[in-house]
């Protein structure tokens, strides 16, 4: 049969890419939990926005994987921050790094999927995490705050 419908199950390559994106979303949720204790109240709205967004995306991706007959990867019991988190700059740096990872994982889904609605989901994930990366890099005092090709570097 050469007529493909969108009901066809995604390829293993696509499922693997989506699982990696889910793993990055889990790690980001954990990072917000740790970092929030070190950030000033002026960052509260940004923290809430990031947490809510990652939680919603995680739920949507888990549903999507189950619908495809895959078992969603669970969150790890604990993660190792790339740098010790001890103050505002290192906490914002942790979030910038978690968001960079998530942007990269969603970019990976864009390059490993054909299905249009999954591509839209991946682009939303990439864009949202890229924008938050810039926000946290600024708070961490890292420059430049943006890169020309988010998710690709």
């Amino acid at each position: 049969m050469f007529v493909r419908t969108q009901k066809n199950p995604p390829s293993q390559e696509t499922v693997n890419a989506v699982q990696q994106a889910l793993a990055a979303e889990h790690a980001a949720e954990w990072a917000y939990g740790l970092a929030s204790a070190f950030l000033p109240s002026s960052a509260d709205a940004s923290i809430r926005e990031g947490e809510t967004s990652h939680r919603a995306r995680r739920d949507a991706v888990e549903r999507l994987l189950r619908d495809a007959g895959a078992t969603p990867v669970p969150a790890e019991p604990a993660y190792q921050p790339p740098q010790p988190v001890t103050n505002q700059a290192s906490a914002a740096g942790l979030l910038a790094s978690a968001e960079t990872d998530a942007a990269s994982a969603w970019h990976g889904v864009l390059e490993r999927s054909d299905e249009e609605s999954l591509r839209r989901t991946a682009l939303e994930g990439l864009t949202a995490s890229a924008v938050r990366t810039a926000r946290w890099r600024k708070m961490a005092g890292q420059t430049p705050t943006t890169t020309a090709f988010p998710g690709r570097q």
């Binding site: 049969m1 050469f2 970019h107 490993r112 864009t127």
Partner: protein, 162 residues
Amino acid sequence: MVSGHSSGHSRRGFLRAGLAGAVALPLSACTGEPTPDKPDPLEELAAQARSDAELAKAVATAHPSLAAKADAVAADRRAHHGAFEKELNRARPARVSATATPPPAPAPSAPQQASAALSALKEALTTGEKRAAELVPSLPKHRAGLVGSVAASCACLREVLA
């Protein structure tokens, strides 16, 4: 359960197969690679990235208060233009000679008021993100990554200007 009319993608692939008189057309026929008689959709994105970079440069020169932010926009949009050019030339090697001397587009000039200049830049980036995002669902995989990344970059640059 398999039906021929549940997705636009399949329908396009099916029609093309009919036109070509072939039963099993390779799937690449509907992945958005340019064909000789159809302009490459990346041409428009490339032209827009270049025009945005020029606008940002003009704004940076005319409004010192905006220079740092506008320079960041100029640098990233110039990088987008370069990446699109590279992919366009890869996809159609004959293009290099055909477009070696493109007609010079009028360089965009910066609005006199700083606030208007800032709005013009934001608007350009909003359009840049929208055009790129619209293409992402239908592009071949390697292009979906590049164009999606450029859409995300435009959103970041707009945030920098906010």
